[in-house]
């Protein structure tokens, strides 16, 4: 199996899906000739031509809205938001439209659109190129939100998202793009949307997280293992709607749960995970549910001192894991 980077996995999934199905097309800012500001669509313009890798005007509500119209017609648009932070002008189209089209038409119409966006920090991106925006959308039935943590998952989940008959937000951690490498099958495969995945088996403490933080948690877990503490790590993969069964199972497994996100703490995905656990396995817990998250400040500052203060990393997770293990 070839080893590829996270972003190569994304590009591969796009290419394969475009080859498989003529209805699949990409639209977004600078996705064409330039191949995207992160190069996620590199080479696709040359292979598939302008109208399947379409450079749009600088207008996110139109990117989403035109994509939605094309999806209603029967196309398979994959829209790119240049940064997750710039999805905000498209919120009305995503929440009021994409998420409600099937429901409001009583199943007459559907809206199979994928909206990809690079999220996350640790790249000197400052307030508006570092944000985690999933919590804004993680309360909208009709939407699915996928946030893969490995190249393997990225390929399999992006393919699933493109084939899904409902709208999917697909958030890729921009620091993972080149940082993470892993084995990715050349064959066609899809991974199930809506299912969490155990990334490490362990019996002492449970870590539930997603995205780049999975990688950090795995690193921290190796450190703990040296001291005989075995962490069980659940990767949510789909952060909305959540995989309740998997969360409950993982929480019960060790009775000590640490939830980790790079997002701000209050009102994050972790809140719902904690609520699910406290609703369903209160008496299985041996410790309060711990949340490790970014501080409740608008977003990550630019200066390296303050960025580091905000950004999640293996050390912060390790510390929280040790505290929980000792509880």
């Amino acid at each position: 199996m070839p080893v590829m980077s996270y972003i190569q996995a994304v590009t591969t999934a796009l290419r394969e899906e475009m080859q498989r199905d003529e209805k699949v097309f990409i639209l977004g800012e600078d996705v064409g000739k330039k191949g995207g500001v992160f190069k996620a669509t590199e080479g696709l313009y040359d292979e598939f031509g302008e109208y399947r890798v379409l450079d749009t005007p600088l207008a996110e509500s139109a990117i989403a809205g035109v994509g939605i119209g094309a999806a209603m017609y029967g196309m398979r648009p994959v829209a790119e938001m240049q940064f997750a932070d710039f999805i905000m002008p498209a919120v009305n189209q995503i929440i009021s439209e994409a998420a409600r089209i099937r429901y409001r038409s009583n199943n007459d119409w559907d809206c199979p659109i994928v909206i990809r966006a690079p999220y996350g920090g640790g790249v000197h991106g400052a307030l508006y190129h570092s944000q985690s925006v999933e919590a804004i959308f993680a309360n909208q039935p009709g939407l699915k939100i996928v946030m893969p943590s490995t190249p393997y998952d990225a390929k399999g989940l992006l393919k699933a998202a493109i084939r899904d008959n409902d709208p999917v937000l697909f958030f890729e951690h921009k620091r993972a793009y080149r940082l993470l490498k892993g084995e990715v099958p050349t064959e066609d495969y899809v991974l199930p949307i809506g299912k969490a995945d155990v990334k490490r088996e362990g019996s002492d403490i449970t870590i539930i997280t997603y995205g780049l933080c999975v990688h950090f948690a795995l690193q921290a877990a190796e450190k703990l293992a040296e001291d005989g503490i075995e962490a069980h790590i659940l990767d949510l993969r789909t952060v909305y709607p959540l995989d309740k069964e998997a969360i409950i199972e993982a929480a019960k497994k060790t009775g000590k749960v640490l939830l980790v996100t790079e997002d701000n703490k209050e009102g994050s995905i972790l809140s719902e995970v904690a609520a699910i656990i406290s609703e369903n396995c209160l008496f299985d817990l041996d410790a309060p549910i711990q949340r490790l998250a970014g501080p409740d400040i608008p977003a990550m500052p630019y200066a390296p001192t303050m960025e580091k203060f905000f950004m999640m990393n293996p050390d912060k997770i390790e510390k929280a894991m040790r505290e929980l293990a000792e509880f």
Binding site: F25, Y51, R52, T56, P57, A59, S61, A62, A64, G65, V66, G67, I68, G69, A70, A71, M72, Y73, G74, M75, P77, P89, N92, Q93, S96, E97, R100, I101, R102, Y103, R104, S105, N106, N107, D108, W109, D110, P141, G142, K144, D164, N165, D166
Partner: protein
């Protein structure tokens, strides 16, 4: 005698009669809905009254078995012309399970019907503009010959989605026709407080497309300009912006009382130009709409409206648990 203006547009006498009949059906359905609302039988009405000519004139200029439409809430005339039935509209007004638009989930006038290529619409205004552009993009990509047609109010033309959608269409010369139904008010706000330049069609220039302002009380003028726009669209010349000016003859909706912000005289003045009246005069003048035909239409429409009402009133609501369905593909 009036000059025959429809012949040169390629419209037969039968066709103009059909247009008139569709306008009349829209008006009568709408009037009935107000009665039902005032009788406490349906919670909400939002009217087409005053805009039927623009709606029907435009719809007849389209290919009604191939084009896609993204109508807004006043477009009863458009959807009737595109195949939605009076019964279906009444089912929606009564919020009954059988309503093809939404199964009673949405308010009335939130149109949508896939088999007639009527895109499903929502309440936040103007979101449908980029959707119609998306359909037109699909037409271009798939090298198909249909066009998409989208409408909205003049107030709604101030939303960002109007700008973003029309510019997108302009850049890619997409086969989409945007018709702004300028009825001079956005709820209580008159055009001079709504639009920096009250002539909406002047915005077309900024998007590199032709723009036209036409008399929205004249179905033939609207027919002509939409027909030409459609011809340009299918021959690859791109989008068109059309502004059809008329007047909102009712309050904004059954929840609104317009006496707070406009005077009776203004409304009475506008009633004189009401297309249901003026188009009938035109057709009568030319001897096309005879008394006999008029009676026939009236009777037929009355019984259509009655039947639709009775059927819809008697039809069942969706079961409560139906609310849980179709959040995602099932």
């Amino acid at each position: 005698m009036a000059k025959n203006r429809h012949e040169e547009l390629g419209l037969s006498n039968e066709e103009v009669l059909e247009m008139y009949k569709t306008m009349l059906l829209a008006r009568k359905l709408d009037e009935r809905m107000w009665l039902l609302n005032r009788a406490g039988k349906i919670p909400f009405v939002i009217s087409c009254q005053g805009q039927e000519a623009a709606q029907v004139g435009a719809a007849f200029a389209l290919n009604r078995s191939e084009d896609y439409i993204a109508p807004y809430y006043r477009d009863m005339g458009v959807v009737l012309a595109f195949g939605m039935t009076a019964k279906e509209l009444m089912l929606s007004a009564f919020a009954k399970a059988e309503d093809p638009n939404s199964g009673g989930r949405q308010m009335p006038s939130h149109f949508g019907q896939k088999k007639n290529r009527i895109l499903t619409g929502s309440s936040p205004v103007t979101t449908q503009v980029p959707h119609a552009v998306g359909v037109a993009l699909a037409a271009k990509m798939e090298k198909k010959d249909f066009v998409s047609f989208v409408t909205l109010g003049e107030g709604s033309s101030n939303q960002g989605d109007f700008h973003e959608g029309l510019n997108f269409a302009g850049v890619h010369k997409l086969p989409v026709i945007t018709m702004v139904e300028n009825n001079k008010y956005a709820i209580s706000v008159p055009i001079e407080k709504q639009l920096g330049n009250p002539k909406v069609s002047d915005r077309a220039l900024g998007y590199g497309m032709p723009g036209f302002t036409v008399d929205g009380n004249d179905p033939l003028e609207v027919y002509k300009v939409v027909k030409e726009a459609r011809d340009r669209a299918v021959s690859g010349e791109g989008p068109t912006l059309i502004e059809a000016v008329s007047y909102r003859l009712t309050a904004h909706s059954s929840d609104d009382d317009d006496r707070a912000y406009r005077n009776k005289e203004e409304v009475e003045e506008a009633r004189k130009l009401d297309s249901i009246f003026t188009f009938a005069v035109y057709l009568k003048d030319l001897g096309i709409l005879t008394d006999e035909i008029e009676n026939e239409f009236t009777n037929e429409i009355t019984s259509i409206v009655n039947e639709a009402t009775d059927y819809a009133e008697a039809a069942p609501y969706a079961e409560p648990e139906e609310a849980l369905k179709y959040v995602y593909e099932e």
